[in-house]
Subunit: 470 residues, 4 copies
């Protein structure tokens, strides 16, 4: 097997037969589907396929086949589509995240999939007509030139893939739906001109506009009735379009509301929940100030989380991925909290996987002096006040990246201070069981945190004593 | 920075340029968005925006630009919209329940949001035409006068916010949908007149009615066909309207049933549940009297609770808010039950958060004499009979705000009496674990309740002995 | 207060004024709403209200006011509606299952509810016209005669209540929807005749049919366009009808599919589940014979239970009702199982509330000889084979109402025999914990069942020995 | 009872009366409904019923009754339908999977069900008309010939049953819906010709096409209005069709979107989930490489499981069936894992019912050397690397059908090696509790697995020692 043949693959046979060898540039390096140039190429093919789908039917009904610009356009398309076959047969694909660059596997996949429509679309029917003098042959034969449309499905796949990465999927589906409906309406309009002719002797533009108008009037089931079929063939065509239109309309109506609802599922679910809560609050005559507080809490939750329940998403993942995502999400905490700095990866994982996110509203007591505590807290966002039991003496303010509650856990004594949220606070709670387990496994962590706890505990006692003396 | 400039903010520049300094009343005090006057002002702006949206297109198609009343109206609108810019740039806003009255923050927010549409809407295009003599200039230039419509989105937001506080949100959405459809139909009607002219030489009112009739006939997809387009421009316009109409119709159909279903979600869920239960009862041939009893139970639940599950709503709230709401909801119990009077807030919270609501139907035995009991009950609504074990001797009737079942718990003895519900009773159950925990923490409560329990226990024994003697 | 006045209530005043005293039959006994005669009366009023709704608009548009039969009909209606006021003000109502027969409460409820529409409907407008000579007065005044329509809402409530007891609620809603649409179409047809007149000079029947045809053509959004409005009033009327039609159509489309889906929710849920299971079975290539077995199991479940989960329905009920329903559902077991006969109600309740329903397919081993067992079983439906451990010796066949498995539980020995289901069996399982608890509380039950167990155990040993000897 | 009579059943009486005795072939052997020949016969009857439904109305409206081919066709149909009665009365049916071949039960079921429509359809009305000379009698009498349509419901049942076994049920429902709509449109078209006649004097084909065109234009609510009713009867007919059309359209629109959504429920649920996860990943700015890994994991889950949760399906089945299905699904494991070979069925069941499926992504650590382990694993798909604790020494690669993790469980020692997934792995986990329970019950299994564990443990130590020596 010559290397050239290996490169050009089955597409090469075709190329040789059609004498397009010159475009067979030696590209022995495989093309990655996520390569920017490849994606650009796909967009060009997409644009070509769509313009072919629009222009070809028009050229057939208005007998524009002699028109040299059109023949040039057709020639360009054939070249483009042939190159695309070469490109496609040299593009790797991925399976479960593994990139398959084995030429055999690629060829096999291509031959079983998009090769045949690609090939049909690349057949130079228009040019053959031009060469063979069949150019002016009318009717059914001309329809063969619609072979270009075989490129459309692949192009639409490009559209959905390209868009999929950037656009909201519900909006994308809506756009694709509209795109297909417009294309279908274009084909129906052209067919109607083909079948009904031009009884009023209109100029091409007016004729097409009237035909398009008739199509849309019928598809939307409006049916003014100013344009109606007269012969049997026209009547049967109209029946067909009406049936398609009815189905299409059902599809659209079933989809539009659905799609609009899905543009922001999280937001609409959030709104629904809030509505339910507010109805309850109103029904039970909860005072307006309390209603506002509750609404503020939910609006905070929404703005800081967009209604996503981190936990349920993570729970579905296997352990390996769960750790990666958790580490990433909490990387600020890990970077800020001094205990974690320089700690081993295993130790951090152990802690991270056992943190529970909790929210406190402004003024909430997080721990109360004198109570027995079973949790320590890391501050992810917001700030808290450390105060004496009677809330008269203000010891300190802790901010994001700091932690508290470890004294009671380590030294087995009641909470030494009351801690209140100053604003909305996102905290992570670490419960005593995990705390003790981790301490026993990682003695170096135990030492660090005990030293810190004792230092802080004595500080509080000093501050408390000092302030009492005042 | 002069105080005046600080006050008028960016709006001031505009005001000075347009010589409307007289309206720049010194309002250095910030406006609260929930101020009654501010809300009244918003309603005035809303009314102005809607009337502008209705009148301006009519004035364009019927060339009413010379009409002095209209110019007066336009002048008024410009003044109103300019004042609204001043008002808006002096209105505080709230973020997570905190009121932001910092001038810089307000200005920044306003400039990034509603300022530009507000400014465009306030441009005195109509007046400029009047002054510059362009008044009679026709066609496209006149469309510039639609700048007033830029005020509509903000106005519609006022509508939804004002309504939102009072009206069922599903009804509000329905009303807004209808409002927007009517406005759209109005614009379409005016456009149709602009494009199709007045071929039948109708008077303005008839012309508008016919155009509106054509619009609605098309949007509802009825399409009588008595008015159809003739030129290319008209035809293309109709195609556009038909496509909009089809989408709009899909939206409406998708929404109406949905909205109607959501007007009372709780009720429809309740009905569905009842329907399911009744089908089961019928299928299993449960006797009619039992079916009625079950239906009565559910109708009681509905009438006393509207299908809200208090528990699930409270469970989602953070502790601080949960306590506040629970205290409020049970404030009648707290006020009526003697033990709570004068008790500390902490003690009440402890009890309140641990009460479980239960319902008993008339005739149900709540406790049975001789059984070992693990709960005590507070009566929230309804009344119960205290009876001897054989139900022959009636000791007492307890009503809302009273409690029972504490004897068996305190004195570790079997229930001393049988207690039956006289009617539908809403009780709160306090289980033994919480009871014991609270007793140990609050010895003063232990004393009060023990004294009461002993007194009542001896009363029952006396009554029982007395009645047996009879 | 005279007794007569007390009886006739506020309706009496009206009666006296209108000199209809003769219908004030002394009915001091209160009418129960579920009385058969009362329900018959409601159906008569319903029929009268519907026929009034159909006839009155026709009589107005065709000027049939001189027609004596119509006046007789109107007179009859007035009498009927007046009597209905008397009847309604003497009908008790129920609140949470309690029948309220207090005259004051009834009067208050009636005056706040249906009294006013009842009163308006009963005003003898038609007769007044007849008497006052206004009979031939045309136009707007005649519309006053539509006062009879005020009876419709109440009548439709009768319809839904009467049907509700017998018909599937989804079908009933569908019927009500169709009924209201037909009535609306009738009113629209009549209004169209009133507004458009009779330009083609048709006979009344043809005129009405054409008008009704136009109405339906418009409401269904078909809009042939053979009948179109001409003046401003007609055009505005058509716009109104189109808007109503669009809304109505949205409602119908949103409802029909929904209603059809709800005609048999249980069945469609069952079908959906089965479909899902079968797709799974096919995808995993489960052998056809196994697929059939699984399908048979589900078809049995469906045919014997209609997809109802008895447990979840019962769980929602309060204890008192749960016991009643359980006792009823299991009354066959209670009647058949010898242990229950003559047992106390408390004992039966205790057992019944702790039974768990289980299904076995033909050939399933329920207990295996030699195993340690923790449950006994009551046979509710089907039959089982009692066999030796090697399944060679067949000891007995037990059928519905019998029980087994008690030997191992009572005598603390391994299962003495293997028991297999002969066909689909509905059993109730009683677990060891409940069994022991009940035994300790009810010693008489312990004795009975121990005696039975020992007798049966020795029988099996004898049989086993006997068969082995063979 | 003569055998012949017993055979032909009630159908025999009919046969004798009509002198069709010759077709009463002696088929004393019962026909099974799943017999291939029987199913072929059903398809023939289905085709006959559909062609009768299409041809008969056409023959009535175009007065084709003299046409000899039609009479032949009618004769054939009658014979076919009579034979079908004989066939049906000799076909067994199944009840809960039991095949009922008792002639009495079959006859009873048939007489209560399909016999009467079968009989009516088989009445030779057309032939009677031919014989009696009523052939040319017009109008209402001819409608009697529609008796053939009584065969349609049964035929449609054949259609749904035949398709049900092979086709996606959602697609089948869509096809059936389209089939019924086409048949309905055919009947409506024929009725319209019957009622409106042939005013334009068209040839039969054109007349039918126009009528069909009118029908579809009306049913899809397009309503061009080029064909409109003129007399009262025509108008009423149109009203009827419009009402049917409106309902039908609601049904279709309500169904199409629903059906399309249901063609692959599993896929659309999977897509929805993935969409949700991706929105979350994007919102939280998870790095693209991690996003891809997570997407790959879900795409693997989809491709290997199609979104089916094996567990939830099995959980619903009774024990007997659960074991059968589990054994089948895991038969590869059972065949490959050496411990299972030659083991008793009870032992295998015990293990199989306690396996939990788990998935590991490439690179995941399944067990870590030095940790205390509580599970052993069977590899169902994929391969794993056995490595030293520092992952430097590679001991072995285990593939599908092998197991690991048993050493730590058996010998109560920490994991001797680290095991990592090489690729996506489907494993089954067996937890320590089940493991210990099974070991104690099946000592022979304990010996086998202990021997294997010790051998492997020493191999690893040898390998580890050997590699360390290098």
């Amino acid at each position: 097997m010559t290397p050239l043949f290996r490169l050009l693959n089955i597409a090469a046979i075709l190329d040789q037969a059609l004498d397009f060898k010159e475009i067979a540039i030696d590209i022995d390096i495989m093309i990655q589907p996520e390569n920017k140039l490849k994606q650009g190429w796909d967009v060009i093919v997409l644009a070509a396929a769509i313009s072919a789908a629009i222009v070809t039917p028009l050229s057939i009904i208005f007998h524009l086949t002699r028109f040299s610009l059109l023949n040039l356009f057709n020639g360009l398309l054939v070249i483009l589509f042939l190159v695309d076959i070469v490109v496609s047969s040299n593009t790797t694909f991925s399976l479960h995240g593994e990139i398959i660059s084995d030429r055999k596997a690629i060829t096999k996949k291509y031959l079983r999939g998009w090769f045949w429509p690609d090939l049909i679309a690349a057949l130079p029917v228009g040019l053959l007509f031009f060469i063979s003098g069949l150019l002016t042959a009318g009717g059914p034969l001309q329809l063969l030139r619609l072979n270009l449309l075989f490129k459309l499905p692949k192009a639409s796949r490009t559209l959905s893939r390209t868009g999929g990465a950037r656009v909201n999927p519900a909006i994308l589906r809506l756009v694709l739906l509209v795109f297909w409906i417009f294309l279908a309406a274009h084909f129906i309009s052209c067919s109607w001109i083909l079948i009904s002719g031009n009884p009023d002797g209109l100029d091409p533009v007016s004729l097409y506009i009237r035909s398009f108008y008739w199509t849309i009037t019928t598809l939307t089931t409006i049916g003014y009735g100013d344009i109606t079929p007269s012969g049997n063939i026209q009547t049967l065509f109209v029946v067909l379009i009406e049936l398609i239109g009815a189905g299409m309309y059902g599809l659209i109506i079933g989809n539009i509301a659905n799609l609009i609802a899905n543009i922001d599922v999280a937001k609409s679910q959030y709104k629904e929940k809030l509505e339910k809560i507010n109805t309850f609050l109103k029904y039970r005559n909860i005072p307006v100030s309390m209603q506002k507080k509750i609404n503020n809490y939910y609006s905070y939750l929404w703005e800081s989380r967009r209604g996503y329940d981190e936990f349920s998403v993570l729970q579905d993942l296997p352990d390996h991925l769960k750790v990666s995502v958790s580490l990433y999400l909490n990387k600020e905490i890990i970077e800020k909290v001094p205990i974690f700095q320089g700690a081993g990866e295993d130790f951090i994982k152990e802690i991270i996987l056992n943190l529970t996110p909790v929210v406190f509203t402004p003024g909430d007591s997080i721990v109360k002096a004198g109570e027995v505590g079973f949790d320590m807290y890391f501050i992810s966002k917001g700030s808290v006040d450390v105060m004496s039991a009677d809330e008269r003496i203000h010891y300190a303010t802790l901010g994001s990246g700091q932690f508290f509650g470890e004294i009671a856990l380590l030294l087995s004594m009641p909470r030494t201070a009351t801690i209140k949220a100053r604003e909305y606070c996102d905290l992570y709670r670490l419960d005593k069981d995990t705390f003790d387990r981790v301490l026993s496994r990682y003695p170096e962590f135990a030492e660090t945190i005990t030293a810190m706890a004792e230092k802080r505990s004595s500080e509080i006692q000093a501050a408390s004593a000092g302030k009492k003396d005042q």
